[in-house]
Symmetry: C2
Subunit: 337 residues, 2 copies
Amino acid sequence: MVTIADVARHAGVSPSTVSYVLSGKRAISAATRERVEASIKALGYHPHAGARALASSRANVVALVLPLRTDMHVPILLQIAMAIVTAARGHDHDVLLLTNDEGVEGLHRVARSALVDAVIVMDVELHDPRVPVLRELGLPSVLIGFPADSAGLTCVDLDFAAAAGMCVDHLADLGHTAVALIGPPAGVLERGTGFARRTVAGFEEAAARRGLRAVVRSCEPLHEAVQTTVKELFAEHPEITGLVVHNEPALPPLLQALRGLETAVPRDVSVVAVGPQELAAQVTPTPTMVSIPAEEMGRRAVELLMDKLNGREAPNATLIPPNLTPGHSTAPPPARS
Amino acid sequence: MVTIADVARHAGVSPSTVSYVLSGKRAISAATRERVEASIKALGYHPHAGARALASSRANVVALVLPLRTDMHVPILLQIAMAIVTAARGHDHDVLLLTNDEGVEGLHRVARSALVDAVIVMDVELHDPRVPVLRELGLPSVLIGFPADSAGLTCVDLDFAAAAGMCVDHLADLGHTAVALIGPPAGVLERGTGFARRTVAGFEEAAARRGLRAVVRSCEPLHEAVQTTVKELFAEHPEITGLVVHNEPALPPLLQALRGLETAVPRDVSVVAVGPQELAAQVTPTPTMVSIPAEEMGRRAVELLMDKLNGREAPNATLIPPNLTPGHSTAPPPARS
DNA sequence: TCAGCCCATCGAAGCGCTTCGATGCTCCGG
DNA sequence: CCGGAGCATCGAAGCGCTTCGATGGGCTGA
């Protein structure tokens, strides 16, 4: 193994000088710096992570806690995770993957053993058992999602209320007067996932504001369930001409079901989806959608974490503004018959 | 921070004794061990990971390299990753998440800096640029998937050839005489992903062995593409009565398309799928399928890695035998008209 | 011309742990 | 009753790095 002493010898300086070249914590003359950097390259030196962590009490590793069973759409989860890794690397940090099946104990362990010096928690529930542990550990942390009580925590999420509102506004602007929200399965709401509730709230608030009739439905992502839901919805509320879908896996079967009902999209009914951008490529017509900015969520989470690690203040709540991309699934409602 | 010296003082022993209690590398009397363990619990001691890594030159961390763009079905990827984390924890190791966008350089970095002492690489391609790096680093490593040249490497994967063969056998046993394989998009094959090729090979080999007429088709997972593919397939080969589908996202639209063609499953055509077990719950009829054992793949990979870390010999290739679960999508072919 | 300062660099201590040889027991056989 | 074997434990060195105070040389300004 190549050590800092080897580099120092090779460059004709002391080990501490090499260390200062690496960290930039003291001024080093350009000549010396270049010589040292050349030696580092020549020898292929990489500082020993453990030694560095021991001496500096900074591991330069952040823990990423993934849920074992997830409410979120899995591909999004992974996209966010990847974005987090990439962003963390940009700040010279690595990412340690933790699952919830080791329980909250795992958080304790990695924190107390100084394996990591910060934590990102994904897919936070309203009453998440990890939240009190985070408070207690006193490590810098960022949550993706909002728990019921977010006092003193740093949370990041898409502004789902605004996203739903944006969908409603889009439909209202087109002239629709009665709309429905097709949300995630009932279980997700019951388990207390914040984003689902915020979508519903935003939907209802916007509908009220715009004077629209509004209906909310949960929906399992199974083909049959979708079909039934849609059929019932139009039977009970024939006046509905606009659908907001916040349920990724249900979108393809939903469009399929509409086709089956001889309901043309967007001629007879308009559909706006909230979900990952890739979904747009998988269905026809290309849906008008508010996309979930996985990359930005990951990046923002890391930036906030780095702020906290560097002693800067971080805002308590970061709501990422939604972005609606027009597609071919929305149009003005059919003329009154 | 609580150190080993604090524990030693509390228990009235020397630090080395505490260390030996923890590692079990020397005999310690039962009385002393209990006293030390009590002190550890009382003080809430967790060994400092960096210090431990420095002194023992063992980080007890394995790197998990995920691809950025993936050929595999994303939920499976994540399932395997989670299984790896869980299994690694069972062997007192943690998992560091690496993406490929840092490139092969990231592997070098974590290895040379002793951040990790072993590597698991997922979604290996036939000519994977990471493979030569693994050889060069000399770290214990396990690949999930097979590269073109796997000499000297330890690889784990589902036995896709056997899986495809099992599907063919199932159809042949039911009396089918002409079958087709609906594989992944052409791009996946071209990029040289081993599992796709092995499926094709296994399919053709088994069909030949059983004297079946066999056709192979690639298919994009878009609704329209699936529909076209199916239509063309039956137009060109009306004799086909059995389908093997190795393309997760295409399965739901495929069943849908068959329904559209007034082709009843399994009355007119039988369908066997290769994919994750959860898929079965999302479509009707419940498909007969060979499931991809994500949990087992992750676990086996870790076990092999631990063997190598502990100086034991690990087999070069581990092919996990497939498992066919009968469903309601296969039946004998319709009587000849 | 020299005190005083700052810049660049060095040396050494110490981070918390593991590990190896040394040490003091106890217990056995002769 | 004593030498030697073996068990349980201790002490100290050292892993590779960071960091703090110290040092020395080149300037500046009076």
